[in-house]
């Protein structure tokens, strides 16, 4: 934190955080953001190499899977869906935080969002890209994936829009396009800024991406309007995506999937895991790119609070669902609950519960929220818990059904794990490369935020004031 800044010494620290970088010139800020982007150390390339290798291995595993058949993964009858769908749900869940932070907080005019919006939006886009791979990966005949796309053909065959998988595809593509545009819109002024400060290939790249942005008032006006529209428009999409993902399960009559609470439960879970992932990533990026100046305790504090609230909401929804299932005492559900509480699913169940509930408790402490390492630990734990939760829902439920003769178990394989790891590595790789090409901190938003606040002396008091900017 910039307590050392002599110019700010007079202001009480809690205000100081709002008066972001007051003493610095705009050009300084530009440099502070651009420098970590332009100077890449050896550590970065080592990281990229490792991630690249993991992705390459995962692609090989995918090739193996396609060549030999889905049997190369650990699926069997009746566990037709396993880690692929689990990870799919997980990534879709992660993708929710970007919009949550960016659009919802933008509408709510929560100013602390400003330095972290870009990171959040990028996370959304990349997580969706990873999620979008899974519907392909898990297909038995991936080379026929285009049959899911409605296009005129002489066989007069169309996809079945009754199928939740079609809803999924539509929702995910819409969300991917929407969130990518949203990310890009907010990027334009910073591209222009970067264009003005760089040369070589970067200059050409930024010039193209900046779309000739000059920063006129008209342009700003249009940008704000566009962002405003997008912020509103993308919220229903972001709600729909995870609802639809939940309906993949809930529309079947598989016991435990067939639940009315699934849609909100999934959305809340998605926000919980997404915000946690964002917090984890911010902690990591902040350290990796030395952005301590921009990403500060107040952001972590606020984000931590959000995570905690989402966690409480998730707990509530989980409990509401669980209680009804428990009292319903439907035979298969009862069996599943028994397996979770004291059967072969118990390790996963207790991992899920502890990893999801302990962080809620931890994050109640400001010390945890504002200490990056502790925050990282808590939020990582949340995502372990949420991944486990999805695994329990997808894999756990499918192991039991109405005919005990057909129950089954499941063991994963190296192919499956490699592909899952591939998407994690792929996400990290995209994110790492992104952070070197695009200003990680939205400079214009910070500058805009600075304009909003000023310190006024009223009598003997220094009082921060905020202006409406629209």
């Amino acid at each position: 934190m910039s307590q050392a800044d002599p110019a700010r010494a007079s202001a009480p620290s809690e205000y100081g955080e709002r008066l972001l970088l007051e003493a610095r010139q705009d050009a300084d800020i530009n440099q502070a953001v651009l420098q970590p982007m332009l100077q890449t150390g050896r550590g970065f390339w080592v990281l990229v190499t490792i991630l690249g290798a993991l992705v390459a291995w995962g692609l090989y595993a995918w090739g193996y899977l396609v060549y030999w058949g889905i049997g190369a993964s650990g699926k069997n009858r009746p566990v037709y869906w396993t880690l692929f769908i689990t990870t799919f749900v997980f990534w879709v869940g992660i993708s929710h935080a970007g919009t949550m932070i960016s659009a919802v907080l933008r509408l709510l005019k929560a100013d602390w969002r400003r330095p972290i919006t870009r990171g959040a939006e990028a996370m959304t886009a990349f997580a969706l890209m990873m999620a979008g791979l899974y519907p392909l990966i898990h297909l038995g005949r991936v080379w026929k994936f285009y049959w899911m796309i409605p296009y005129p053909n002489n066989r007069l065959m169309w996809p079945n829009f009754q199928s939740p998988l079609m809803w999924d595809m539509v929702a995910i593509f819409t969300y991917l396009i929407g969130s990518t545009l949203y990310l890009y819109l907010a990027l334009i002024p910073d591209m222009a800024m970067a264009r003005d400060y760089t040369g070589g290939w970067r200059y050409r790249l930024y010039r193209a991406l900046a779309l000739g942005w000059r920063g006129t008032e008209g342009e700003w006006h249009k940008l704000h309007r566009a962002l405003g529209i997008f912020s509103v428009a993308i919220i229903p999409i972001f709600l729909s995506v995870h609802s639809i993902v939940s309906w993949d399960f809930a529309v079947t009559i598989q016991p435990r999937w067939h639940s009315t609470i699934f849609a909100p439960y999934f959305v809340v879970g998605a926000i919980y895991s997404g915000l946690s992932a964002l917090a984890s990533i911010l902690v990591l990026v902040r350290r990796g790119m030395r952005l301590q100046e921009f990403l500060r305790a107040e952001h972590f504090n606020a984000l931590g609070r959000l995570v905690m609230i989402a966690g409480m909401a998730w707990t509530y929804f989980w409990f509401a669902g669980f209680l009804v299932e428990w009292y319903g005492n439907e035979p298969v559900t009862r069996e599943l609950i028994r397996q979770e509480v004291a059967g072969h699913l118990a390790p996963l169940f207790y991992l899920q519960m502890s990893a999801n509930l302990i962080p809620v408790g931890l994050l109640a402490f400001k010390k945890v929220r504002t200490t990056p390492v502790l925050l990282l630990a808590a939020t990582l734990l949340v995502n372990v818990g949420m991944f486990t939760e999805r695994a329990l829902i997808v894999i756990g439920s499918l192991q039991r059904n109405d005919m005990p003769f057909n129950w089954g178990t499941y063991h994963t394989t190296w192919v499956e794990v490699s592909i899952v790891v591939m998407t994690f590595a792929g996400f990290a790789l995209l994110y790492a490369l992104f952070s070197r090409i695009v200003p990680y901190v939205p400079v214009w938003e910070i500058k805009e935020g600075r304009l909003r606040y000023s310190m006024r002396r009223i009598g003997r008091l220094l009082v921060p004031t905020a202006a409406e900017i629209e």
């Binding site: 058949g69 898990h138 038995g140 169309w158 059904n401």
Partner: protein, 243 residues
Amino acid sequence: MAQDVKSSAEASPRWAMVVDLDRCTGCQACVIACHAENNIPVVGEEQAAYGRWMHWIIIQRYWEGEYPNVKARLMPVMCQQCTQAPCEPVCPVFATYHNPEGLNAQIYNRCIGTRFCGSACPYKVRTFNWFEPEFPAPLTEQLNPDVTVRSRGIMEKCTFCIQRIRRAEMDVKAEGRQLADGQVQPACVQTCPPSALVFGDLNDPNSQASQLARSHRSFRLLDELGTDPAVIYLKGGETNVPG
């Protein structure tokens, strides 16, 4: 009105199978008949142990009671050809759909392998080609030319031997006659030694299947789910009664 019913019944039969559990001995003849008729591959010990077997019809065995008053109930289970089939709406490409005769169609060459139908099916009677099926030569010579050999990544299931239905329809049409009751027999029904399986048209009230379906012993599997299956079971007797 009655005329209408009759003509519509003639227009499209409602194929149904009656499984008399009192006759079924569990002898597995139907299982092999199905393998032979429908080009179902064998998967080998390792895969079979992992639950990846591919029989379209299985005989489920449930134990009841304890030694010495132990009962084993045997129940053949194949695709129930539900009228309200949970598998149908979830397929994104219409590979499985309801055909005019009320059959659950599974079109292999349309299937892209999402396995959604398999997850949705409460009876778990759909099987998936986890790997490319193997028929070491010259076992290929026994393959039924009327049935597609499925490749890897495709869902498959009991079709009520649609190829036999179509063949019979074609033959009677060529001869200018109507299908008679019992003229269409899926492979399992044809071979069943104790005649526990009966196949026929429910729209024909006089067919043997219709008559059996009206038996007081009849019930349907997981009826409470409302899937309205076309497979009708007839309750078996009490076996190994104590005392």
